[in-house]
Symmetry: C2
Subunit: 361 residues, 2 copies
Amino acid sequence: MTQRVYNFSPGPAVLPLPVMEAAQRDLLALPGIGISPLEISHRHKWFDGVLADTKGTLRELLGIPQNYQIVFLQGGASTQFSMVPMNFLRGTNLPADFVVTGAWGGKAVAEAQREGTVNVAWDGKATNYDRLPAANDVKLSPQAAYVHITSNETIQGVQFPANPTFGAAPLISDLSSDFLCRPVDVGQYGMIYACAQKNAGISSVTIAIIRDDLLERGAKNLPTMFDFRTHVKNDSVYNTPPVFAIYVFQLILQWIKNDIGGLAKMAAHNAAKCKLLYDVLDGEFYQGHAQPNCRSTMNVTFRMKEELEKPFIKGAEQLQLMELKGHRSVGGMRASIYNAMPIEGVKILSEYMQDFRKKNG
Amino acid sequence: MTQRVYNFSPGPAVLPLPVMEAAQRDLLALPGIGISPLEISHRHKWFDGVLADTKGTLRELLGIPQNYQIVFLQGGASTQFSMVPMNFLRGTNLPADFVVTGAWGGKAVAEAQREGTVNVAWDGKATNYDRLPAANDVKLSPQAAYVHITSNETIQGVQFPANPTFGAAPLISDLSSDFLCRPVDVGQYGMIYACAQKNAGISSVTIAIIRDDLLERGAKNLPTMFDFRTHVKNDSVYNTPPVFAIYVFQLILQWIKNDIGGLAKMAAHNAAKCKLLYDVLDGEFYQGHAQPNCRSTMNVTFRMKEELEKPFIKGAEQLQLMELKGHRSVGGMRASIYNAMPIEGVKILSEYMQDFRKKNG
């Protein structure tokens, strides 16, 4: 086996080694069944068990109230940018409020505009999405179908607190890049959705958690596959779901529960990891992109003198610290340190950053 | 490792053992890269190579002309039942013709009706979808946006020949359950689509092959993710694709090309396999569901006296022949013998069927 590197990719992203080892062990045949998880039918009783356990463990870890439904979808957050307004904006004669704190929120606005009236309640573009809005700056509609936020913006590295409040309308949050990084009060939300390929496994499954009353008032006569109720009524097996991705998600949930000890401990791990990097940002040699009060625990974005970027990346790669280049719209570096990034990798990066500054400062 | 059984599931379905062994070998870290294929970014140059090789090998195996584009989508055939009419029926003021030879074709009709006028040019319901239409029975529209067929119906076990003709309108075929089972003249089609979880790998990726002129005349202002052009223009990485599923598909294509020797040989293997079962159907003890001239090479459907079904399944399971129960709408048994089902498994089933008849006939 090739030695593993430290993969700071923003997603798809590093997975817990015990999860991959478990998947590898049974990849040719599940014990006692003799069929691979790559091959097994979604109608097989083994998968009934996977689905029930996955939903049960997720409900337990997040404390999801009984009036919320869990469904597994396909197409990533980008598909939700359309499905959410198809279900909850179309035909309402109400606006949907969007608080835009980065690139992904902007994409969600563009798709919602096809389905109804969008009110951009706040947009951080003027300062290249380096901050959250002050409470007074958010211009909510008097009555909205829902309020949409992006919990964590991967490109800019800006993250909301776990349970932000935005008036009385149902709050719908894209948690794609910080799902399960900390406890969340699901009861504060109308809906949460997240693609899997950051903290929940491999790309191809999207997890949605939706409150019953929102489901009930959803638009009628939608294409069957784009109607959330189809997937709720059929417990995510109306059609063939991404079986293997849901199985990997089950393994991830077991890892969070049993190996880590739950979401409060997960959050503590993540806080310790990002502190190792944010403590190095000095505003001079290393300039953080996000304002200190809204820095992401998942994506640490920072710049340096442009001529130092290539040497920085080259030196990092010699230490097996990979995928650190930032998005072109922000520049500089981005260290994505999702749940599964070991603290050892972050320590090596932190020390490297300090060494690099000494040599080039 | 648990011993592998013979898995006759209609899908997700058996995969080639060498493909799974290759995936298992590199599951923790790709050689020379140090990142798992479960974790690696779709922007990594390794995945650029996977994508290019997968498309290249598929183009070579199927002889796909240069005026056809290949894209990788999510959501299975069920999502295509909506995406196809959204793109090619909506706003045309033309009807779309549907030839319905089974359950899946019927689902495609129901979704297309949301987008425009549907003409059911033929429907085999009267005989519970046991046959293909006679040429004279298909009532095509004088001018249609397209004609839609389901190449192979898994539930009923009815399969079209590789290159059926239906007038001048673009022919769109759902090849989900017989993709890559034989050579196909792609130039005869406007579009082909197939979910992966029968002959092309694991559930979560859908392959679409679309002719340029059809793409050009597609509906405007569609949700970005539901517009085929989005995925063509961005070479299937507009958003995060199902990276691991595309990688498994690449391994499958290499297996067909190198281990099997191409699609003509694949077709010969499949013909030999299904003959072993169809030869046992005698119309008395074992009654085939599909008429002999349209029997599927992929799904062999047959009935016996109802009181013998449970003993038949029990005896089969003792021989590790699993997942043989037919769909409730047809009853009896269904042996799905996709590309990756080894002929040894089919031989054991064929012999078992003969033994069972001797003992119970």
